[in-house]
Point group: C2
Chain length 311, copies 2
């Protein structure tokens, strides 16, 4: 896997259209860079090329999560899987998806002839809940959303940890490899015989949380996924003036997405998956902004940082 970079928690937006792409918006596609991991969500048709345009190598992908098997959320999967083989990516790539869509996953995986050498590990998810407890650096959770077909939202939870305090480490005389040992073992005896505990030279550090919520009507699972998240990507196919259409087709309005972020105590909201019927994206930020302050209306190829940790 690629080495982690200190500033590498960000969302790379690959596509932002809903059912029909537009001149400005490709079908869905979102790469979350999370230290050494790269999680690709909902690769719609054209994701392979959008990655090229965004400067994302296929080797950056470590996991793929699919919410459901409508075409705008999965037709880019064959191209991505085939590209992993073509590029001889050596690390395993897990793919998580609703178990009810197994037949579609199987077809997508083998819908063209290629030299299938990549280490692809399918993970059909039957019920939601904790789907991957690790290994570190996070747990992956899923929750059933309320759409027209079996659909899962995704949540990444980094465990709470401790932030080392350099001045206290220096005062305690803990340096070099001893810092790592102290983190792993919780305490150590220094060369001059003093015991130093982890608690004495560090402070609690809250783990970060990312949530991916689409496609869905307003439902409890959407709030649960977004609970306390640092960054929430949420579909807002419609505006509130078309709330009846949103309900009929199993989608959210910008105001509903903002309500989820606000009531869940999230920190930053990225709106996406826009219906082509709305020419002016500022309508989305205006509608959501009245309810939740930190709103980003996604455009193709933008990058949205995960907000820095809070104290």
């Amino acid at each position: 896997m690629p080495a982690p970079s200190p500033t590498s928690r960000e969302l790379v937006v690959l596509g932002t259209a809903s059912q029909a792409p537009t001149r400005q918006r490709n079908h869905n596609g979102y790469l979350l860079r999370w230290d050494a991991e790269g999680l690709l969500f909902d690769p719609g048709e054209g994701t392979q090329r959008q990655m090229l345009l965004a400067g994302v190598a296929s080797s950056a992908i470590t996991r793929i999560c699919v919410t459901h098997f409508h075409g705008d959320h999965c037709l880019g999967l064959p191209g991505v899987l085939q590209r992993l083989s073509l590029d001889q990516v050596a690390h395993p790539v897990g793919v998580w998806y609703p178990a009810g869509g197994q037949e579609f996953f199987d077809r997508l995986r083998r819908c063209a002839l290629y030299n299938d050498t990549a280490d692809i590990r399918p993970h059909p998810v039957p019920l939601g809940g904790l789907v991957d407890p690790g290994p570190e650096p996070f747990t992956l959770l899923a929750a059933r959303l309320d759409h027209r077909t079996e659909t899962l939202g995704w949540r990444i939870e980094e465990p709470d940890g401790r932030r080392m305090l350099p001045d206290r480490l220096a005062a305690a005389g803990v340096t070099g490899p001893d810092v790592g040992r102290l983190q792993r073992e919780g305490s150590l005896i220094t060369a001059d015989g003093r015991e130093v505990t982890l608690a004495a030279v560090s402070e609690p550090r809250r783990g970060q949380v990312f949530a991916f919520v689409m496609d869905t009507r307003l439902c409890d699972a959407a709030f649960a996924l977004a609970e306390g998240a640092d960054l929430v990507v949420c579909e807002s196919t419609f505006l509130e003036r078309d709330a009846d259409l949103a309900a009929a087709y199993g989608h959210l309005t910008a105001a509903q997405a903002a309500r989820i972020a606000a009531e869940a105590g999230a920190r930053r909201l990225v709106l996406t998956h826009f219906s082509q019927r709305y020419p002016d994206e500022s309508d989305f930020s205006a509608e959501a902004g009245e309810i939740f302050p930190d709103v980003v209306v996604a455009r193709d190829l933008i990058r949205v940082p995960v907000p820095p940790r809070t104290g």
Copy 2:
């Protein structure tokens, strides 16, 4: 079907990359407008959106021809088929493809969940030859090429006909609906009792021919497909300096494509399906131009007219 327009024989180039797309080149995709018909060849991933960028509605598609089931020639098929349903296209759309790829066609057709309402008519082609004798305005033929998997090139042949000569029609006193009747029936008796034959008021008109040749090594079928064609679209993945790679991977060089066009007596050659290893497309026109004069190096979204009929 859409009404024919008098200037509607042209190739709309949707994508021109080979295995890997580039910033400038999407995967394959070619729409041949032929009067009231629209034949989509080798829809690679992203074809649906390239059609939007090229101003081609899904309703313009009347037939789809796939040469083979490598991903760069077919991963756009699901999006196109699903779009035909979404757009409620009412006319039937036939899909012709090598019979050996039936399993891939079946998976591509049902690899995502959608409301499949379009009238899609699969035509697996086992051996090549005449695959659709009509109805007018053309016959569709296939020939086995020499690639790494079962691959068919395509040829459209318009039957020879007759061009009506307005001055002779006027001199013979044939006007209005009688012109059509004369064309259908071969002769008629005018109001003043004279017999007029079709031969007397028209001249022979040679039917037009279009050929689509990819992916292949140099082989007899490639020449046969291009025989006397007005417009030939031919892959030229490589330049002659990499002729060994071309042979190894089952592809053509620009010089070989030009040889096909020249020896087959074709009129215009469109080169496409370029390896990303070549940054300068003028190398392709230079290499082919030494062998065949009317060469177009395809770029995404260009339109190439079928050359006007010759006398």
